[in-house]
Symmetry: C3
Subunit: 204 residues, 3 copies
C-alpha cells in the first residue's frame, strides 16, 4: 500500500500542476494559482468523501496532500515559464498515471464504506474526474472531461475491472493493480491515437 500512497502523492502533484498551468494562462495571482491547483488535486476526493459521509475529508486528516500541492505550486511557478518548451506528451502521460491511481483509490474507499460495486465505480470516476471539472468551472470553461477523448470512459472501465476482479475473489492488491493498469492503458492509447467516442448531437 506504500506504493499506492506514493503514486497518490504523485497524482496529487500532477493534478496540481495542471491547475497551475491553467491559472498561468488566465494570469492569476499566486493565491489564484494555489486555489486552482488545490481544487484540481483534491476536489474529486473531497466530493467523494462528502457523499460517502467520510468526514472530516481526507486532506483534513492527512495534511501531506496540502504540502505536496504547495510545493508543486512553488516549483511550477518558478520552473515552468514557457510550457511550450516541454515535450507536449509529458503532462498528459503524467496526468494519466495520476488519474488511474485516483480512480483505484476512490473505488477502494467507497467499497470500504459499504458501497455496492456500481457506486464504487462512480466514486472512482468522481475521484478521478471531479477535480478537473471544478477547475474548469472556476476557469469558466465547459469541463474538459465532458468532451474529451476517452477520459472518463477509461476511468469507468478501470473501475469495472477493479470491482469485478474483487468480486471474483482476486486479492485486493492484484485487483487494484489490474484496475490501475486498465485505466492507464486505455487513457494512454487514447492520447497516442487520439481516440474519441462518437458524440451525441441533437439538431435544435
Amino acid at each position: 500500500m506504500t506504493l499506492i500512497y506514493l503514486l497518490d502523492m504523485f497524482g496529487t502533484a500532477v493534478f496540481a500542476a495542471s491547475g497551475v498551468l491553467l491559472a498561468g494562462r488566465l494570469r492569476m495571482d499566486p493565491f489564484g494559482v494555489v486555489v486552482l491547483a488545490s481544487v484540481t488535486a483534491i476536489g474529486g476526493g473531497t466530493i467523494r468523501d462528502m457523499a460517502l459521509g467520510a468526514t472530516p475529508v481526507f486532506w483534513i486528516t492527512d495534511t501531506n496532500y496540502l504540502w505536496v500541492i504547495f510545493l508543486t505550486c512553488l516549483i511550477s511557478m518558478i520552473a515552468i515559464r514557457r510550457p511550450r518548451q516541454m515535450p507536449w506528451y509529458i503532462l498528459p502521460v503524467a496526468d494519466a498515471v495520476g488519474l488511474a491511481v485516483f480512480v483505484a483509490i476512490g473505488v477502494e474507499k467507497a467499497l470500504r464504506f459499504g458501497a455496492t460495486p456500481m457506486v464504487a465505480v462512480i466514486m472512482g470516476v468522481i475521484t478521478g474526474c471531479g477535480g478537473g471539472v471544478i477547475r474548469d468551472v472556476l476557469a469558466r470553461e465547459i469541463p474538459m472531461v465532458l468532451r474529451t477523448e476517452v477520459y472518463a470512459t477509461a476511468c469507468i472501465l478501470g473501475g469495472i475491472v477493479h470491482t469485478t476482479a474483487l468480486s471474483m475473489g482476486v486479492a485486493a492488491s492484484v485487483a487494484t493493480l489490474a484496475g490501475i493498469i486498465t485505466t492507464l492503458t486505455i487513457r494512454l492509447a487514447a492520447i497516442r491515437w487520439h481516440l474519441s467516442l462518437p458524440t451525441f448531437a441533437l439538431r435544435n
Copy 2:
C-alpha cells in the same frame, strides 16, 4: 408512499432526460451525456443530504436512482434524435411533475432530520432546483432557475403549503399531496400563461 416512490423515479427520469437534451445540444460524448443527466437528476438531493448530514447520500444506499438514469440516457440517445418533433409542452409538463415531487421529498426528508419548517422549505427548493443549477453551471449557462418564470417560486409556495398543513395537524400523506399539487399547479399555470415575476434591475 409507494406512489411517491414511483413519482420520484419518474422525476429522476425526466430530470435526467433534460440533462440528455442539453448534452445533445453541446455535442457531448456518451459519458458527458450520462454525467449531465446524473447531476441534473440527483444533484439537488445530493446537496440536501450533504447539508443535512444524511450520509451516505440517498443514491448510494438505493441504486435504483442510478439505474433509472442510465436507462433514461440509453433510451433518450436512441429515441430522441430530433427534439423539435416532440410537442413542445411534453418536457416542461413532465419536468413540472418531477419538480413537484422532488420538492415534497426534500421537505419531508429535512423534517425527518429535525429541520425547522423554514429550513425544510429551503431543502425542498434545493432538492427541486439544485440539479438544474449544477447542470447549467457545467454547461456554462446562467442557471435557468435564477431567471425563469415562476420556477423556484412554485417550489417555495409548494413547500410552504406542505409544512403549514403539517403544522396544522393534517395527516402526512395529505400534506405531501397538498404540497405536490400546489407546486405543480403554479408551475403548470406559469408554463401555460408564461407567467414571470418582475425582475429586479439595477442601473449600473
Copy 3:
C-alpha cells in the same frame, strides 16, 4: 463571543447585499436575488461544515442567518435602486469587515473540530471566500477572489496570525481579535492603495 456573533450577522448581511447587487446587474427575478444573496452569505460556511463533517450545517441549526439574508434582500431591493449614488467605498469596506469575521469564525470552528493550524487557516479562507466564488460561478464570471487585489491573501495572513497567537498560548478572544484586525487591516490597505500581487502569466 456576543460581539463576534453580532459581527457574524453583520457579515452575513453585507455578503448577502453583494449578491443582491450582482443579481440586480443580471436582471434576476426576486427568487434569483435571494438565491444569489444566500449562496454568497452562507456558501463558504456550508462547504466548511460539509468538509469538517459538522452537519447539519450551521444555518440549519441557527436560522437567524436565513432571516438576516431575507431581510437584507428585502431592504436592498427597496432601498438600492441606483448603486452609483452610494459612495463607492461603502460596500468594499463593509465587505472587508464581514470577510475578517468570517475567516476568524472558520478558523475557530475548524480548530474546535480537531483540525491542525494549517487546515484551520484553509477553512478560514474557505469560509471567507467560498460564498463569493459560488456567487461568481453562478453568475458565469471568473471568481473575483482568484484575480483581485490581496483578497484571499488577507484571509491567509489573518488566519496565520490567529492560529499562531493561539499556539503561543494567547487567550482565545485575543487571538481571534488579532486575526480579525490583521485580515481587516490588510484588506483595507489593499482597497485604499489598490495593492495587488504580481500575477503569474504563462506564454502559451
